[in-house]
Amino acid sequence: MRRKLVLNSIIAVMLVLGASSVARAQHGPPSSLPIPPRGPRAVPEIDPASATAALAMLVGGSLVLRGRRR
């Protein structure tokens, strides 16, 4: 039962990641909010377009913090 639950979770993740790769292949402008030249501007807090470098920084920083010789 537990194995089935874990397997189902993995399959669900694969499905979502697969959908992500399909979604990324579509036409369109780079991922960002449309910015009108005048008037109020929407400001995303966490921009997925910058995720790669930010996650690399997070992982690298964590490895350094946990890398002290025991």
């Binding site: 979770s9 993995i10 979604a23 400001v43 010789r69």
Partner: protein, 564 residues
Amino acid sequence: MQRGLVAPRFAWKPSAASYSHSHARAVGWPLIIQAGIPLAIILVELFALRTWLVRSGGQSNLLAALLSQRGPGTFRFAVVQFTVAFAMVLLMFGELRLAHLRVAFGKLEPRGVVRSALMAHAAFVLVCASLLATFFDVPLTLGWAGVLTFGWFAAAFAALWFAAVAFVPAPFWVLAFRAVRQTLAFAAIVAAGAFAFGRLAATTWEPLSRATTAVVYSLLHAIVPGVTVDPAAMTLGNSAFRVEIHAQCSGYEGLGLMFVFTAASLWFHRKEWRFPQALVLVPVGLSAIWILNCVRVALLILIGVAGAPDVAVNGFHSQAGWVAFNLVALGTCLGASRTPWLLRRHAEQTSSRVANPTVPYLLPFLAILAGAMTAQLVSAGFEWLYAIRVIFAAGALCCFLPRYRALDWRMGWAGIAMGVAAFLVWSAMERLTGSVMSAGMPAALAGASAMRQNFWIAFRAFGAVITVPIAEELAFRGFLLKRFESEDFESVGWHSIGWAAIILSSAAFGALHGGRWLAGILVGILYALTYLRRGSLGDAIAAHATTNALIAAEVLVLGHWQLW
């Protein structure tokens, strides 16, 4: 000394307990081909699929419209949010299970190809392709779109499975899956929780936005002339520049990510924390990220009001959230590791005087990332301050010069030849995607003075050929390649590095190159092989620098600026 290209090896590890690098043995090319071919087939098929979609993707039906919509609240945005949270947990904590994964690789034995499985794989790939054609060419109702989507994913999963078992026995995949299932399942659960948290917050974001608006206004009203707040529209600013504190900037995205990070940290390192004290990290982290988000919005308005709205909107906004998140996440880790009250064992309370072997390998690379984030914070689309990356990296490298003298810096013609090969691979991949040939010099650079152009190009080329190869090779081949073999990476000899480490470190290297991930993986493997030829980091750096120098030449001579 062995001069030829040494075939990388799988280490034979009968069990996790008896694993030792001294037990490494060569297994030859049959096993290497056996392990590499399914991966190569899947990568090529994914690449072909992506290229086909990019070139022919129509927008004729409901599903295509659903996938193509962008921005907060769309399906695409939700998938990206989930993927970011999942990747964060997996990258941060997945390494804890690597020892088990290495055991699975160690039990891999050479074997022939199962042709029936290979044929089944080809059949399911065809099913996937035909279903995709249906998605984009035939108008569909919502119900049929759902049925076909399910069918597509089922066929894709079957295609993956049959490709895997055609070359590698199913027991290996079962063993590998068992090794990582807990981490994958936990990452999926945490990401799903964060996603659900985000959806819930999206329905109740107004109170959070009002609080954020109030704090930002209190920060700004004394220093920005004419700043006003519109509580109904939740807009803030003056006549020159205003922002709207809407759902996505109210702070809940940062709160969600921080919740994921602290929950994962508490769970995966639960043997190190002292409970219930450690639970205080959750409110501390959440409070810090929310306060920093308020400061972020205030700074954004200050930049806009100061006369640089393009910098505020196109540069600062996309980086500041991640900078704040990194500061809080890493700051929380650092602070907690130095707080005995939170830790179970005093041995964990390491001080700054304790040697940290990872720093010389990772700091130059992290300095480049920090430089990039800093430069993009103050850019308005074009990264004028690229020099910051070079200066940061050079500074970090200078700090550890005495440590680097102990490394193997031999550089030979083989490294340069491999660099040329990597350039050819990179160039071929660019041409396959058809994305490079028409690109000219960026408009911002083309419009600048000659002196400013030359200054930028000089730093860009210097960074590409000198600092980036050194920093990335130290991080990916000097550290990560060995770190995938053992936590005590300095004790790992280059002879005992196996294909699991090569593939995983190259995958990380490829992921860092965004849309060029496949080319990144392939050249990462080439650089790893260059390093493993005789264990010289200098060879890998020479290869990387050669590739980047040839790319720089193509950019400057042929005008293919999109390569930069």
